[in-house]
Amino acid sequence: MSDLAQNTLDGLFLGSSYALLALGFTLIFGVLRRVNLSFGPAVMFGCYAATWVNLNFGAGLVLLALVTILGSILAGAYVERLCFAPHRGGSAIAAMVASFALWMQFEELASIVLPRHLYDFPPLHGGAPLAFGAMTLRIESLVMLFAALLMCALLWWILYRTRFGVAVRAVIDQPQAAQLAGINVPRVFMLTFALASAIGGLAGFLIAASHEQVTPMLGMWSTMKGLLAMMLGGLGSLPGAVLGGLALGLLEAHSQWFFGPQNRDLIAYALIFILLAARVPWMTTRSAS
């Protein structure tokens, strides 16, 4: 019973970073109606930038978080200009394949600048985990959960209490009506991309700090987790992204416990395939361009 509770807790913590990744993906998908295959790699770029700063100058956590976020925004802007802006009214496939091409660029750049397979990343918290009866609670996990919640609250505030948020929601809801209402849609695309990259950057920082390492696999890993969580929550729905992320975290924690790590991923993919094949309404309501 306490195992169940521990796994649930761990799943929620894991899920909170998945939720952030999924939010980033979903923002881009909801607004631009495209999947950005370079989302994870842009996040990795930010993490590597922070790693490089840490290696050469040593720096505090807050500064590293900022570097990660800024690095991700910069990488994201590059991707947006080259892959998404030029194909705005046109082919979704071309945009996606272009984003894949840039993914290759990011991976190679990372391996050139920081060639080792693994780099240390400073931990979120150096101390020992807390104990609650039979359960243990890592401080890092609490920080991660808290940071994720804060980011969600910030995103909510942006979307529902600012003029920019009105524009974003309008474009998500009905892009042509948004144009007619005088919203500068290309600019909304650009700024949404920056926002999504920032969220992804924060997620990347939290993940790197909580695992205390970065590897070149971080790019692909973030992309896969973000995509999976977004799909679970229903493509294009922001609250769905959060729920999908948490669900994925819970699913992974529990299935890993019962079935082992390989089967864990197998179960997640099988679930998504089944949900898609069954055309469960919440998963298939948004048109993909």
Partner: protein, 239 residues
């Protein structure tokens, strides 16, 4: 005096030219109407003026400036608003949010609130449904919302694409009553309509469009009404 001057506009979808050189004018302070059969290119023309489509050739002069090919938000900024065919509201936003979105480019909060009040006075059904999601409104209510949203930008020129489409006769009358009221208040209106009978009752000038070109220009009464209706629905029978 012309508020809008369209000259030789050609707009194409890939290789297919929907507009083959359209020229017309909309006089300041008038209600001008564009009639024609389906597929004539009327919606394409509206979209070209509003900036959603980019003309391949020709000019569109508004207030002395050529706006052809400019992005939609720049055209709204200059005082042109389009109420599109099939209404296009923001379905998951409330009626109130829809109206605020229409005022997106404005910063004068006080005036925006006053405008919303005025619009609610003009469209009392919208006031009743202010907190309701726009997607749940009836067809007629959505049409009114679409018009109201367009008006929130205080346009000098209001473009309307088939506002009576799919609406019950009583609602259609209401729409045209509103069009007349707006006209009296000084808004210039350029109206695309299938309902030639109602359109001719309110317009000062009308154009007939067939197969991507303007085929007739005149005042209501210049052509016998049944000939106009015939050509508006079926196109010219002259081969």
């Amino acid at each position: 005096m012309s508020l809008l001057k369209v000259r030789d506009v050609v707009t194409a979808y890939g290789k297919i030219e929907a507009l083959k050189g359209v020229s017309l004018e909309v006089a300041q302070g008038s209600i001008t109407c564009l009639l024609g059969p389906n597929g004539a290119g009327k919606t394409t023309l509206m979209m070209s003026i509003a900036g959603i489509l980019r003309p391949r050739k020709g000019t569109i002069h508004f207030g002395g400036e050529d706006i052809a090919g400019r992005p939609p938000h720049a055209i709204v900024a200059r005082g042109v608003a389009l109420v599109p065919e099939n209404r296009l509201v923001f379905p998951s936003m409330t009626v109130l949010e829809n109206l605020n979105a229409g005022a997106y480019q404005r910063g004068d909060k006080q005036a925006i609130a006053e405008d919303i009040d005025k619009l609610f006075a003009r469209f009392p059904r919208l006031r009743e449904r202010a907190a309701q999601q726009a997607g749940t409104l009836s067809g007629g209510e959505q049409q009114m919302l679409a018009v109201a949203r367009a008006l929130m930008s205080r346009p000098k020129l209001l473009l309307m694409d088939e506002p009576s489409l799919g609406l019950a006769p009583l609602v259609v009358e209401e729409i045209f009553r509103i069009v007349t009221e707006l006209h009296k208040d000084g808004t210039t209106i350029f109206l695309v309509e299938q309902n030639a009978h109602m359109a001719l009752k309110v317009a000062q000038h009308f154009y007939l469009m067939e197969q991507g070109k303007v085929s007739f220009s005149g005042t209501p009464g210049a052509l016998a009404e049944d000939e106009v209706i015939h050509r508006a629905y079926l196109g010219s029978s002259k081969i």
